[in-house]
Symmetry: C2
Subunit: 285 residues, 2 copies
């Protein structure tokens, strides 16, 4: 099962997810100035980061918005990036946060679990309820695909709705429990289900509460580095069991800017991944 | 302001939104059998429907999932369809239901308010709160772009979260009121704001309650035809003021199947639009 593979990758390589939220302004100067298309530039950038980090990480996450913003050319770079990661034998999470129902969600499933944009995991928005999740089950049943559903996001205004009290609990807890329950039909040997959860790290205490109520859930944590959240916070969550991967994007893929704008800029990315790993793993020894 | 233009179109042409949720299986046989790419097939199909209906409708809605499902080729057809509608001087709503925050939402704004995939309106998911809405304001301020935010969806499992009680009201009412409030900074002469709402028609009484609390909101109603909701239900909402457009997709673009599989299949689409208009407008005379 793909979730068991991800769990194993996280245990063996460390729980690091590199976020390829690539924008043109992140590119080193040598590449920006090259006389090639934006598609080629974005892909070359991603390829160089992947080549220098794949032995250190559990998986990659690719934020489709950054590529959609460049239209068809951007999406060609997106397609090639996903393919390159999967051909390397690594797991890729397509951060698409799609949220639609029945026949429309089936179309999204087709779009992101097969064809040009095939990924191993996708992220999904639960506002429309189970109908927004279940259309993906057909693919989950192959054991080769999984999803991460938004439980609790780390942005300031997540309080607008996610913190509203329903019964005696905030909405995000109700959502989290439902997602954990829906995942029970898709449990792997690791004890985790193919229906994972996205939980931000802004409030570490809350995260522990969610974790305690969602025993089957493997988490995608978006909040390391630029979005806040320390290695110690992450380690507290992973202490009993390696139940999450932690994403960092800008902290890794933009770190070379102003430091190394040359062909070997990716040495900086590698260094940043090593630092992030140590920042987390030091608390787990 | 684009919302005033939409209001005017709805008043003058009737509140009809044709949903170009085009799938290969909807295509008439003559087109399916043609020796051209899927991109060409999808675009020719859409173009024929647009050409035969644009004088009867307020706007078009294009469901991006159907095109994403066909990968890059599908998205080329999506791009050409949007461009074709806008070049005809008609309004197009990109049904993308994106929901992400800050810098990522800015990327989605760039993706769908300029460049290859430029639309007039987009649909957005509010689960992440105001941070998922405000990144689009930059474009709203030009008065040329607008958005429809999910308030209350019409699917069965919308009850999972949207009906949960917060305070003395269901969550969807809290969400609706917030969205109406956020829109107050973007009011047009029509009295409607550039921040519209998506509300399903499964429960007409509920819709009236939402409408009464959201005086600035222009609505996109997805629920006519295949998803339920009658002309009479729609008319009750529009009686005082033309405050919505009503989308129908399959009921219009699939109606020719088994009836007319030839080049003039779009005569059936036109007929179905006329019937839908009459079904609604008969109650408004």
């Amino acid at each position: 099962m793909i979730i068991d593979r991800l769990y194993k990758e996280a245990k063996e390589n460390g729980p690091i997810c590199v976020g390829l939220d690539t924008r043109l302004e992140y590119l080193p100067e040598y590449l920006l100035n090259k006389d090639i298309s934006n598609e080629e530039k974005l892909f070359e950038f991603n390829k160089k980061i992947i080549d220098k980090t794949f032995d250190l990480v559990a998986c990659y996450k690719v934020q489709i918005a950054c590529y959609e913003a460049l239209g068809l050319e951007g999406l060609k770079a997106y397609q090639r990036t996903l393919k390159y990661i999967r051909n390397k034998g690594k797991i890729v999470i397509a951060d698409i946060k799609r949220g639609d129902i029945s026949s429309t969600a089936e179309m999204y499933a087709k779009a992101h679990f097969e064809g040009d944009f095939e990924a191993d995991f996708i992220t999904v928005n639960p506002y429309m309820g189970k109908d927004a999740i279940s259309p993906y089950y057909k693919y989950l049943k192959t054991n080769k695909k999984g999803m991460f559903v938004l439980m609790r996001t780390s942005n300031k205004s997540s309080e607008d709705f996610q913190e509203l009290e329903v019964g005696n609990e905030p909405l995000y807890m109700e959502v989290s429990k439902k997602i954990d329950e829906w995942g029970k039909d898709f449990l792997g040997e690791s004890g985790f289900s193919l229906v994972g959860g996205v939980v931000g790290l802004t409030y570490p205490e809350e995260f522990l509460k969610i974790k305690n109520k969602c025993k089957n859930t493997f988490f995608l944590i978006p909040g390391y580095g630029a979005q806040g959240g320390t290695g110690k916070d992450v380690a507290r969550i992973l202490k009993e069991k390696m139940c999450a991967v932690v994403n960092s994007s800008r902290g890794i893929i933009k770190a070379h800017k102003g430091i190394n704008e040359d062909k070997d800029f990716n040495e900086v990315s590698r260094q940043k991944v090593l630092e992030m790993k140590e920042d987390i793993l030091q608390w787990l020894r």
